[in-house]
């Protein structure tokens, strides 16, 4: 917009007619190129959908092209296995999200709004953890989880998720808490509000947008997590979606239709989430670029 509009309205241009048609051609070329790139980028998903609609016979004859009749039975067959893993994932993600948000809003609130001995030490102690990558802690974390008897339980996922998720959340929440106008708190204090009331009625509503951003990002990360949950949980009863799909993959190597249907089903919930929260997601991705 910047370049084309300002340049076109500029009287300096002599051959306006020529450059304008030139520019329109360029724009069409850009659109075309972007569509091609998007098609290639999404080709694996398109392929998964095509393959998910095949019977085994259709797959052996024409593995990658669309074949008719479309076989939707694969979906019901996969869903019968996968819904259970999806529910487990919903539970684990919900518990982890609730934990992360509670823990990090409380800490972000007092760090951002109060002065107390040790505040800065505690704050830097927390955000220094952004420099510790998952590869360092994976093995010792498993040792710890085993000592706590959390192997094969959701807690072995929830505690590491909350402890990992709270760090960046506190970093963001502190900044937003500091940005709330002091007048709001002064007024509340004049009315005799307690610390809890300040937290609940003033701070939390004021930082709601960033809470949404934090939530959406964590949900995506945890929902799609494969390696850690596949280490912690081996009992299918407690398994979350990605390790569930992984073991489903092992069982269906010769059953490509249902396998792909399972992949498609597993991808749908986040796409639905995205449709409702795309703006939050874009903002979150921008701030997520800080993440190390």
């Amino acid at each position: 917009m910047v370049i084309s509009d300002t340049a076109a309205s500029r009287p300096l241009k002599v051959s306006t007619e020529v450059t304008r048609s030139h520019r329109i051609q360029l724009k069409w070329a850009l659109h075309l190129a972007l569509w091609v790139l998007a098609a290639l980028e999404f080709y694996p998903m398109i392929l998964a959908i095509i393959m998910s609609l095949k019977t085994n016979t259709q797959y052996y004859i024409h593995p990658f092209s669309l074949t008719f009749p479309l076989d939707f039975a694969n979906y019901s067959q996969s869903f019968a296995v996968i819904w259970h893993y999806m529910l487990n994932s919903v539970a684990v993600v919900s518990i982890s999200l609730a934990g992360t948000l509670i823990v990090s809003t409380l800490a972000g609130f007092v760090i951002g709004r109060y002065r107390f001995p040790g505040r800065d030490v505690l704050y830097y102690m927390l955000i220094a953890l952004m420099m510790v990558p998952g590869v360092l802690t994976m093995v010792p974390m498993f040792v710890l989880i085993s000592r706590f008897g959390m192997v094969d339980s959701w807690w072995g996922l929830v505690f590491p998720y909350v402890a990992g998720g709270e760090i960046f959340s506190i970093f963001l929440l502190r900044q937003f808490m500091m940005g709330i106008p002091q007048e709001l708190f002064d007024a509340a204090q004049a009315d005799g509000a307690s610390m809890w009331q300040e937290f609940w009625y003033i701070a939390l509503p004021a930082v709601r947008p960033i809470i949404g951003v934090i939530a959406v990002n964590h949900v995506v990360g945890w929902w799609n997590d494969l390696i850690w949950p596949s280490i912690v949980i081996s009992n299918p009863k407690w398994m979350t979606l990605m390790p569930g799909l992984y073991s489903f993959t092992g069982q269906n190597q010769t059953n490509v239709g249902p396998l792909m249907a399972g992949y498609v089903i597993g991808s749908v919930p986040l796409v639905l989430l995205f449709i409702f929260t795309s703006r939050l997601f874009v903002e979150g991705m921008n701030s997520g670029a800080f993440k190390l």
């Binding site: 972007l34 790139l37 080709y43 998964a48 990558p133 709270e166 390696i227 986040l270």
Partner: protein, 312 residues
């Protein structure tokens, strides 16, 4: 971090000394700090400790062995050195791809006239990031498999190599892993570059167009120099991702064929959870941590420049 500091100095004057009881304030802090100590700090330090023991599996008593695990990795294990090379190749490819492709696409999106299209394309490419990585990599296994989609394309074009199982041939397996995700457009990088381009002062662009700088010329001589901060950030982020990642090995190659796609991250996973060598695995974890920490510290220097797009 720079932003945080300036913000806190301006706000500090306004922040009142608390009239709340201290125990309540510390009570608010307690859950976060306790979780961080138990589930972040303890594992980090116990990882350093474990790397100097001969721990085999959880619950088996182990002895202190000093640097023996490091010695067996770096001195006695040429295969491990090979895996470092593979990691370097993959990380290098990630850096080259991550700095070029998203920048080109961000330029293309930025050059579109309407803001609605610009937003729409960014959303479309962002959408890909929601699809579980596992699903994408598994489907790529079919694309790169013998008689897979790639083979059929190669045959259709009449090129040689139409019968290669790209991930199973040890000459092509590592390159095939790089190829996963082609055309590598989606991801956070595109948003970072786009935001960088959008934050360029319109007057600069005006001045450039008055000077007759347009198209490719403008991109190379005006835009690229103005988004070097973003480029540096992407270099570091891609490198860190490249050093840590072993998704394709985990799902498709298991480090093979032979040892041709093995990387330290996956070797660590295997040692810890398949071979029962947790001490050795921890040593690999510490090694990766040191590399990534170095990159992270470099990254900190560039965080100021990444603030530019943060404001968008």
């Amino acid at each position: 971090m720079a932003l945080t500091k300036t913000a806190s100095t301006t706000v500090k004057s306004k922040r009142r000394r608390s009239r709340q009881p201290l125990w309540l304030i510390y009570g608010f802090m307690f859950p976060a700090v306790a979780l961080a100590l138990i589930f972040d700090y303890y594992p980090a330090f116990s990882g350093l400790y474990l790397s100097m023991t001969n721990t085999l599996e959880v619950g088996i008593k182990a002895q202190w062995v000093g640097l023996a695990n490091y010695q067996s990795l770096f001195v006695n294990n040429p295969a491990f050195i090979d895996s470092i090379w593979h990691m370097a190749v993959l990380a290098g490819a990630a850096v080259i791809i991550g700095t070029t492709v998203p920048l080109i696409v961000a330029e293309m999106i930025f050059h579109l006239g309407s803001n609605r299209w610009r937003y729409a394309y960014r959303i479309v490419f962002l959408l890909k990031m929601l699809i579980p990585g596992m699903v994408i990599v598994e489907v790529w296994g079919y694309i790169l498999g013998v008689n897979g989609v790639l083979d059929q394309v190669v045959k259709f074009l009449g090129l040689p190599g139409g019968d290669i199982a790209w991930l199973v041939d040890q000459h092509t397996a590592l390159a095939a892993i790089v190829f996963i995700g082609f055309p590598w457009v989606a991801g956070i990088a595109i948003l970072i570059y786009y935001a960088g381009l959008a934050s360029i002062d319109p007057e600069i662009l005006d001045a450039a167009s008055v000077d007759g700088s347009q198209g490719i010329h403008r991109v190379l001589h005006v835009d690229v120099p103005l988004v070097t901060g973003q480029v540096k950030l992407i270099v570091i982020l891609s490198a860190i991702g490249g050093f840590q990642g072993y998704f394709a090995q985990f799902l498709l190659t298991q480090g093979g064929p032979g040892w041709s796609t093995q990387v330290p991250g996956y070797f660590m996973y295997l040692n810890a959870f398949k071979y029962g060598e947790m001490g050795l695995a921890s040593a690999i974890g510490v090694f990766l941590f040191v590399i990534i920490l170095a990159l992270t510290l470099i990254n900190m220097k560039f965080i100021r420049s990444s603030q530019d797009y943060q404001a968008q």
